[in-house]
Amino acid sequence: MHSDSASPALKIAAGAGLLFLHLPILLIFLYAFTTEEKSYQFPPPGLTLKWFAVAWHRADIWPPLWLSVQVAAVATLVAIILGTLVAAAMAQTRFFGRDQISLLILLPIALPGVITGMALRSAFSVMEIPFSVWTIILGHATFCIVIVYNNAVARFRRLSGAIVEASADLGANGFQTFRHVLLPNLGSALLAGGMLAFALSFDEVIVTTFTAGQQSTLPIWMLQELVRPRQRPVTNVVAIVVFAVTFLPILAAYYLTRDGDQTAGAGK
């Protein structure tokens, strides 16, 4: 066997690849402090904190922010319930049509968002459903199911079937087993899946433009600013908020599922 360390070329290529993925995001932070509001001049001519105050007092930012939070919360709740149900069914039994169902769950996220969006738009048009908050939620929940499902099904697989049997042997019925045995073991995986789903929904723009009508979520507000910029640094401040709202749940989800091997009954 050859030496077990990577060649320098590989190290450089891998490191450069990771830098390519991370450096651009840092610039968003820098430009939120620039004194130049008409262009993206680099390096910024001066630094200031005033855009955070300006953004805070802009009345047009708050309603989209609130709408995004509401949509993401409801969509996440629906996704947690539906995702956990499918995961429970798929983890334990093999049945006819199992592969088709897993494809059906995956499709909304594997096909480009424009198809999901256009499909929903066609359905609303054919059935004459007017756009509302609920049409946005409908779309978001559909592609969030797979996120919760992925987390839940991985945990279900790691859970030893023996603890469910042990619970039954000790006289618990199915509901007691779910409440006292399954739920505590699934909890962190569901929380992680829920947070990822929230992050995905909070940030979603492609499907939303097709299902929102006149409503404006925060990403849609941002998209309008990108196409027709007004105060550019204010957009950066909002971008930092969006980034934080999506970044923190991802990090939390990682720490919640990292120790997933230590579920009850996995010691053997």
């Binding site: 430009y31 629906v78 539906l82 069914a89 769950i105 096909l111 054919v126 019925n173």
Partner: protein, 312 residues
């Protein structure tokens, strides 16, 4: 112990549990009904509505959708300007997929074979964070980078490559007064946004390459490069193909990136968006949306043959 070994039934919960135990199919049906109803009605129903809509046509004079079956709308896809959009999108998706594979492979290879302990976590988070963080924020970051007065121009002038960048931008195919208004800019941002989706399937495939095969290859006298070419690469190929499904499919349908960065050349996603919005031509928008589905079905069939599904 007196009495029977069977516990007395304490209430409806016990009775239901008994039923589920004797007939697991009932439990399965109960678990699956709500999610399948949702996905079946909302998602599949919508896809069917999309198909139906694409067989309608629009009255050229009144602009009203005629709800009669016709192939006229699909025929419109083959008009020169529409065919142009489809071919441009296909070429872009193919290029983006190739470039993504080249950039993603070393990351996946290092993460799978060499990263240990703390570095494993660094790589995992280093791949997951950009993948999951806000799409729009990432696109916006590139608008800042590629702008005429932005960091790329600044770096180019400071390393003395300013004239080179200027000459490149003057070229016809490069197009645009700055990178943020040229197709090359669109390409860079596409690669940046969708490349992370390729790393994970690649990494998974590379991790499954058994160490014993590498040892056998070395024992038989293969050099590092030979082992890579004849053992590792063929075994990792299903993972590469699996990853390419995502980059290809997601590039096919994206309409935000070409709208914000590029020379306003149209792509399939943008065409769908514009036809359903300002143009009010829902049938043509629907027909355009069917194109990526059809392309992806062919792509998935090929990918399946190459064993990509086992790598997912």
């Amino acid at each position: 112990m007196s009495g029977s070994a069977i516990l007395p039934v304490r209430g409806p919960g016990d009775r239901l549990s008994g039923l589920f135990w004797r007939r697991p199919r009932v439990l399965l049906a109960l678990l699956l009904t709500p999610p399948l109803l949702w996905l079946g009605v909302v998602y599949l129903g919508s896809l069917i509505a999309l198909l139906v809509q694409s067989f309608y046509s629009i009255d050229e004079f009144s602009g009203v959708v005629k709800e009669e079956f016709t192939l006229k709308t699909y025929a419109e896809l083959f008009r020169a300007q529409n065919l142009d959009i489809i071919l441009r999108t296909l070429a872009m998706a193919a290029l983006v997929t190739l470039a993504s594979a080249v950039i993603a492979f070393p990351i996946a290879f290092y993460a799978a074979r060499y990263a240990r302990g703390r570095w494993k976590a660094v790589f995992y988070l280093g791949i997951m964070l950009p993948l999951w963080s806000s799409y729009l924020v990432k696109v916006y970051a590139w608008k800042l980078i590629l702008a005429k007065e932005g960091i790329v121009t600044w770096v180019a002038t400071h390393v003395g490559a300013g004239p080179l960048l200027g000459r490149a931008l003057d070229e016809q195919w490069f197009g645009g007064s700055s990178l943020s208004t040229s197709p090359v800019g669109t390409f860079i941002v596409f690669v940046y946004i969708w490349m992370p989706y390729m790393i994970l399937p690649m990494q998974a495939a590379l991790e499954r390459v058994p160490g014993s095969m590498l040892e056998a290859s070395a024992d038989l006298g293969a050099s590092r490069a030979q082992t890579f070419r004849t053992v590792i690469l063929p075994l990792a190929m299903p993972g590469v193909v699996a990853g390419s499904i995502f980059t290809f499919s997601l590039t096919l349908g994206d309409y935000i990136i070409p709208q914000i960065i590029g020379n306003s050349a149209r792509y399939i996603g943008l065409a769908v968006y514009q036809f359903q919005g300002t143009a009010g031509n829902l049938p043509l928008a629907a027909a355009f949306a069917v194109v990526p589905i059809a392309i992806m079905l062919v792509y998935l069939a090929i990918a399946k043959r190459m064993g990509a599904f086992d790598a997912l």
